[in-house]
């Protein structure tokens, strides 16, 4: 009696859950990517374009970089698109991905209140800006979540020869959150933060904040795209996934990426080499 009830529950759940009107019949692939990429609006623009071209729906799950990598490792994705080069290469080396391709880049910027207490405006070396912030004990908000952005930030502190983590909880605040949440906190505390330009441009809660430091080549943010290895996870839709990657790397995809603008500004710069 109990097992019949459990059976009924399982079937009931699946039935109730699976009757999705539009998306159920169309072929789809799962893309694991990051919240910053999604929040920029790129996927809302690009994925319908691809669907029209190929008839395949790309379902984008946007989480933190670390989580995207973990999900892909578990086989819960067909394609992985993040911006953490070292982690991506490790992913392929460990046998979870077929091959990593450069896809596009944007840059990171340091934003802060227009009052700029540490006086970093206009500097073209990120390391120097961070040193000034540390010396002034000015508030700095970090994502602290091992994301691509966070890894880049850590590298910059290392460059500046400042141990920011030691000051965690005083002038250095680690939110452990996504880019949007972190920016909300930075805006609320009038603190500095490192963010990718794309997220910043589409961020709606800027208050009195501006881009203070940009242009340093060290602030370069490279995106990579990887097909999850079907030999590791046999159920991966390898053909459909590869088709999507091929399109992204083709001139059609690259041009589409370049054409994506928010507020008249281009957010991503395609740089696939084929």
């Amino acid at each position: 009696m109990l097992s019949r009830l459990l059976n009924f529950i399982c079937v009931g759940c699946c039935l109730l859950g699976s009757t999705i009107p539009a998306a159920a019949d169309q072929p789809f692939i799962l893309l694991q990517s990051t919240t910053s990429t999604r929040n920029s609006g790129l996927y809302d623009y690009l994925l319908p374009m691809y669907q029209k071209f190929s008839g395949v729906v790309v379902r984008a799950v946007a989480v933190g970089t670390g989580q995207a990598l973990a999900n892909a490792r578990n086989g819960d994705a067909d394609v992985l698109l993040v911006h953490a080069r070292n982690a991506e290469e490790q992913f392929v080396a460990d046998g979870y991905g077929v091959r990593r391709f450069d896809l596009m880049y944007n840059d990171f910027v340091i934003v802060g209140s227009n009052t700029d207490p540490a006086q970093i405006r206009g500097l073209n070396r990120a390391a120097e800006a961070l040193q000034r912030i540390a010396r002034a004990n000015a508030l700095f908000v970090s994502r602290g979540d091992d994301s691509g952005t966070h890894q880049k930030e850590r590298a910059l502190w290392q460059d500046a020869k400042v141990d920011a983590v030691a000051a965690s909880g005083t002038w250095y605040l680690e939110t452990g959150s996504g880019m949007g949440a972190t920016l909300n906190i930075a805006a609320g505390r009038s603190a500095y933060a490192l963010t990718d330009r794309a997220t910043w441009i589409s961020f709606q809660n800027k208050q009195s904040f501006e881009i203070l430091v940009a242009g340093d080549p060290k602030l370069f943010n490279q995106y990579g795209v990887i097909l999850v290895d079907p030999e590791r996870h046999p159920h991966v839709k390898a053909a459909l996934g590869q088709a999507f990657i091929d399109w992204l790397l083709s001139s059609a995809g690259q041009n589409a990426i370049a054409a994506f603008k928010v507020g008249g500004e281009q957010l991503f710069y395609p740089n696939a080499t084929r």
Binding site: L5, I9, G12, C13, C14, L16, G17, S18, I20, A22, A23, L30, T35, N39, Y43, D44, R59, A60, V61, A62, V63, N71, R73, N74, G75, D76, G178, M179, G180, A181, L183, N184, S202, F203, Q204, N205, K206, H233, H235
Partner: protein, 235 residues
């Protein structure tokens, strides 16, 4: 606060516009949470009643466990369900990760302990009053269970509404197992999270108000049914 005022206006406008995207999200929210609650009630009402009238070794310990499970953190449930439904998990072969079915399962796990624990309390209180009489009449076991459930049916409506409140309001579980995928698994709470992370605070707040209107609607509907039900109750 500037945000609140514009948020209320936005909320009213969103509802009035019958914005298609919003309607899609509302429909999915209701489908997922109502399904979870209905299944949770089918499971939880008899289990709670059985726990109330049963006498067996370890009963007190089980009651403590169930009461504790009422406070399961949604994000923890989401994580555990994700790990099972993941391709690397035990139930990966079901292929239901990132679908509404997964969300229903996660919410089912969240609401069932609530239904069991509260039903247990109501039935136990009723049992104290009815036990002697029912035993004298020769009513036992399943028959007694059904009789008691029918007796406290109005209190049980409140239990189900509490479960619904929990389901419709949570985000931790559905965001992990659903993935907040546009047009597929995006519900009210995950949409609010998304807009917040984009810094669209007044839109997020407006969606929050819409969500509360939704919950209000469900509760009002339940109250209306309850108002008319007594006329039918003396069959």
């Amino acid at each position: 606060m500037n945000d609140s005022a514009s948020a209320f206006a936005t909320a009213v406008q969103l509802i009035g516009d019958f914005d298609a995207a919003l309607l899609e999200i509302i429909a999915l929210s209701l489908r997922v949470s109502l399904s979870a609650v209905v299944l949770g009630a089918l499971l939880g009402l008899p289990l709670g009643a059985a726990l109330a009238i049963g006498r067996f070794r370890g009963r007190q310990a089980l009651i403590v466990c169930v009461n504790t499970l009422m406070g399961l953190p949604p994000v923890v449930v989401g994580l555990i369900v994700y790990l099972q439904l993941s391709q690397s998990g035990l139930l990966g072969w079901l292929h239901i990760l990132y679908s509404p079915a997964a969300m229903i399962i996660a919410q089912l796990i969240l609401v069932t302990p609530i239904v069991i624990a509260l039903t247990r309390q109501f039935i136990e209180d009723a049992d104290a009053d009815y036990d002697e009489e029912l035993r004298s009449l020769g009513v036992r076991g399943w028959s007694k269970l059904v009789t008691l459930i029918v007796e406290v049916r109005y209190s049980l409506v409140t239990v189900v509404l509490a479960a619904f409140g929990r389901a419709i309001a949570e985000v931790g579980a559905v965001i992990i197992v659903g993935g907040n995928i546009n047009h597929v698994t995006r519900v009210m709470t995950t949409a609010i999270t998304l807009e917040t992370s984009k810094g669209n605070l007044s839109l997020a707040l407006a969606l929050g108000l819409v969500l509360m209107f939704l919950a209000l609607g469900v509760n009002a509907a339940a109250a209306t049914i309850r108002h008319f039900a007594p006329k039918v109750a003396y069959a």
